[in-house]
């Protein structure tokens, strides 16, 4: 009775704390509303969508090639894996296959990206739990990988290096050498991180028995990747539905037993070692050959074929006065406004403004526009002397111009894609990344849908956190390894 009276007078409520979207530990813009009883978590409600950019909808309005860079912006921590996932899915839709060398290169960069991702995960996870030095150690190696990415494609984060039908360009030997050195040293670096935290009592106390999830429950929640494997389910798409060169390399799928934060940590640490060994195997086996599939219907012509044999900037575009009807097509098409002329009179190209983009060349219907190899910097009179009708141009230049036209068509309209739908899942560092395309036969997908592991894992947060303390929420966010760019898309 007295107690009830007291409860009436001192009404108690749970403390409502808004963690995020701006918070040092939410790995981006995740917002969690915590209902707390003292320091104990009663409930967690995750809110997502603060980084929503409509990537799926954007994909429907872009051709298959154009949507590729968007995938970089999903999981920006492991952009390479996202690109590969997208390319593998589109290749399946097109019914083409990348050449062997490209498959191996993709496997290499995919595993590098996995290592880079796990390093960032370890860095932030450890920093969240308070181990600050691990953070900087991990970044040292991550820098190395990003530098290697820069070596092959010029970008460090948003790489867009894999392409539909292969990879953008072959890898230089210096890249392979540096990568080999990296793989030599990396296992000892992993041991270095482990000396700091693996057997550390505080680390064990903070991770063992925290956020436990059984194998059955994890499967029911739709968990994938290391987050699932920590619970003891050996499900790895690289093993079960191999793509790229994964069926030609040997690797283990590390699994945990308890399904707690520590097991998931161990899984990822072991996975980094496996990735390291995959990279070494791939470098050893790397076959020679082209890196882009040669299928004129679906694949962009290689860059070196699009340009004449001489360096592209050496050439000059020139209008043959006799053939020019003065239709004005090239004038309108020229992006640099280098073409001048009145209607029905021969036009002229101002060589100082010309960008050598070939737009006029592809627009001209009267074969009046031609190319003068090595003609850059020459006077118009000299050019007129050298110019020949486009029909009489050497074969390689003709081919190059055809390739250029094809590229133009591809980018503008997209290739003719078979109708139907396709779902392809790849194993990205965070779990199963699936791309689902519905094609209506045009150059753009009718529907593009991404199965983002981060989104599904973020949904498990309430399940992982309930009953634990505030500090464990941080550990739980870290252990499922989410990136909000991918979660919100």
């Amino acid at each position: 009775m007295i107690q009830r009276e007291a409860e009436k007078i001192f009404e108690t409520r749970e403390l409502n704390v808004n963690m995020g979207p701006q918070h040092p530990a939410t790995h981006g813009v995740l917002r969690l509303v915590l209902d707390m009883d003292g320091e104990t978590i009663v409930n967690v409600t995750p809110y997502v969508g603060y980084l929503h950019r409509g990537i799926e909808k954007l994909g429907e309005n872009l051709s298959y090639f154009q949507a590729l860079p968007l995938t970089d912006r999903m999981d920006y921590v492991s952009a390479m894996s996202n690109n590969i996932g997208y390319c593998v899915a589109v290749e399946k839709l097109f019914g083409i296959e990348a050449p062997e060398r490209a498959k191996y290169i993709r496997t290499i960069v995919g595993e590098m990206s996995r290592i880079a991702n796990h390093l960032l995960w370890l860095a932030t996870h450890a920093l969240d739990i308070g181990a600050m030095t691990v953070f900087l150690y991990c970044f040292r190696e991550r820098e190395w990988i990003l530098d290697l990415f820069e070596m092959i494609c010029g970008a460090r984060l948003t790489v867009t290096y894999p392409r539909v039908g292969g990879v953008r360009n072959d890898v230089p030997q210096a890249f392979l050498d540096s990568l080999w050195k990296f793989t030599d040293e990396f296992p000892s670096r992993i041991r270095e991180y482990e000396t700091l935290i693996d057997q550390n009592r505080i680390w064990l106390q903070r991770t063992v028995g925290i956020g436990v999830i059984s194998a059955e429950e994890a499967v029911n929640w739709g968990m994938t990747g290391p987050t699932l494997r920590g619970s003891g389910v050996a499900y790895d798409i690289r093993k079960h539905m191999p793509y790229d060169a994964y069926d030609q390399v040997e690797f283990d799928v590390p699994i945990g037993t308890e399904g707690d934060t520590y097991d998931r940590y161990r899984c990822r640490m072991l996975e980094m070692r496996q990735s390291n060994s995959i990279i070494r195997q791939c470098i050893e086996k790397l076959p020679a050959g082209p890196v882009m599939a040669d299928d004129p219907k679906f694949v962009l012509p290689p860059k070196d074929k699009m340009m004449p044999v001489t360096h592209p900037t050496d050439m000059a575009y020139f209008i043959i006065e006799k053939a020019c009807k003065g239709c004005g097509m090239c004038l309108r098409a020229c992006p640099a406004k280098a073409i001048t002329g009145e209607k029905k009179k021969p036009h002229k190209i101002d060589q100082s403004l010309c960008l050598q983009c070939s737009t006029c060349f592809t627009t001209c219907k009267f074969k009046s526009l031609t190319v003068v190899p090595g003609g850059k910097g020459m006077s118009d009179d000299k050019l007129a002397e050298l110019a020949v009708s486009p029909d009489k141009l050497p074969d390689d230049i003709k081919e190059a111009q055809q390739a250029l036209t094809r590229q133009f068509d591809f980018i503008k309209k997209g290739p003719k894609v078979p109708e139907g739908d396709v779902y392809v899942a790849t194993e990205v560092p965070k779990g199963e990344l699936g791309f689902y395309f519905v094609s209506d036969g045009t150059g753009k997908p009718y529907r593009m849908r991404v199965r983002a592991p981060s989104f599904i894992h973020a949904g498990c947060l309430p399940r992982l956190c309930k009953g634990h303390l505030v500090a464990d929420v941080i550990a739980a966010i870290g252990t499922i390894d989410i990136v909000l760019g991918e979660c919100d898309r």
């Binding site: 704390v17 530990a25 320091e39 308070g130 953070f135 150690y137 505030v470 500090a471």
Partner: protein, 348 residues
């Protein structure tokens, strides 16, 4: 006019003596404050350099040679920053909290013997005074958390007060052994008693107490792995989340001075203060010529280095684990140490 007719010569002499004493004390205060503030400035630099090198990077390098002027740049920056006060904050308390925190840390500088005969206030209950004033510092933290009217700050304040109170017990108990051995609460006396003792420093016979003290000192100053009140991954910045500009700097100053105080207590009570153990000076007699202040500083900075070293190495404890360590491990060990020390003292 003859002063002699107004004030008798005796009184005049007394006044002059008093004046000189006051002047000396003021000089000492100036020296100590200058050392204290310079210490804070360069303790942050030292920390950033030490941790930087532990983490395979350089630390501050840009301002001045090897970043030596970085602390001043930081200070200036904080001084000129906007002083933001949350609209919902309790203004009076919000103003007061950092002042309490900083002042309580600064007051403690007055009783610490930096060298032989160099102490501002040589009081007989020096050790108790240190505890009492350090306890006042908690009010600063708690009021800051409360007055900010922010949930993060509030939780930080709650955590901090609980933590500091529990660890103060363990720390107090750990120093009882020292009090029993030296038979005094005067810090000067404690150092002198150590000098005459068998081992030259109490850290050896009182090793259990020294370990308990070291751990409690880390907890008491809210440093890693016990930095829960300001755990940035959980509570953003803990009790000073809402503070900015120079008010934040006051907390910062207070924290580093508190570290200096803890390191000083360790140096004075366990490591022999400004003295060296007799067996060291016997083997290397030339060390007698080095001023005591130098040894004192070396001991203090070694202890502070230890603080940094821990910070760069270990993760953070969880709140309940921290309390468990305090109450279930440290306090029993400290109590057992008191009993054993007392028994040994009785028998001898």
């Amino acid at each position: 006019m003859n002063f002699g007719t107004i004030i008798s010569p005796d009184v005049l002499d007394g006044l002059i003596a008093f004046g000189i004493n006051v002047l000396i004390i003021i000089l000492k205060i100036v020296v100590v404050l200058a050392i204290g503030l310079l210490h804070v400035a360069y303790a942050t630099y030292f920390e950033r350099k030490v941790i930087g090198h532990m983490q395979v990077r350089l630390g501050p390098m840009r301002v001045g040679p090897h970043g030596l002027l970085q602390p001043f740049a930081d200070g200036l920056k904080l001084f000129f920053k906007e002083d933001i006060i949350p609209a919902q904050a309790d203004k009076a308390m919000f103003y007061l909290a950092p002042v309490i925190f900083m002042a309580s840390a600064m007051v403690n500088l007055s009783v610490i013997p930096y060298a032989e005969n160099f102490v501002i206030a040589d009081i007989n209950v020096g050790l108790l005074f240190l505890f009492a004033i350090a306890g006042v510092g908690v009010y600063g933290i708690f009021l800051a958390g409360w007055a900010s009217n922010s949930k993060y700050a509030f939780m930080g304040g709650l955590r901090s007060s609980a933590q500091v109170l529990s660890y103060e017990i363990a720390m107090g108990f750990s120093l009882v052994g020292v009090m029993i051995m030296s038979g005094s609460l005067n810090l000067n006396e404690i150092v002198k008693a150590q000098q005459e003792s068998l081992f030259g420093m109490y850290a050896i016979p009182q090793f259990a107490a020294f370990i308990v003290f070291t751990i409690s000192a880390v907890a008491e100053t809210n440093r890693t792995p016990f930095d829960l009140p300001e755990a940035e991954s959980e509570l953003v910045a803990g009790y000073f989340t809402e503070y900015s500009g120079f008010r934040f700097a006051l907390f910062f100053l207070g924290e580093y001075i508190a570290m200096f105080i803890m390191a000083s207590i360790a140096a004075v009570c366990f490591l022999g203060g400004w003295t060296l153990p007799w067996y060291v000076t016997k083997i290397l007699p030339f060390l007698n010529h080095v001023p005591g202040f130098f040894w004192y500083l070396i001991k203090v900075y070694a202890f502070i280095f230890f603080y940094y070293w821990i910070r760069a190495t270990v993760p953070r404890y969880r709140y309940d684990q921290l309390m468990k360590i305090g109450w279930k491990i440290l306090i029993p060990i400290a109590l057992a140490n008191i009993v054993i020390t007392g028994l040994v003292k009785l028998i001898l």
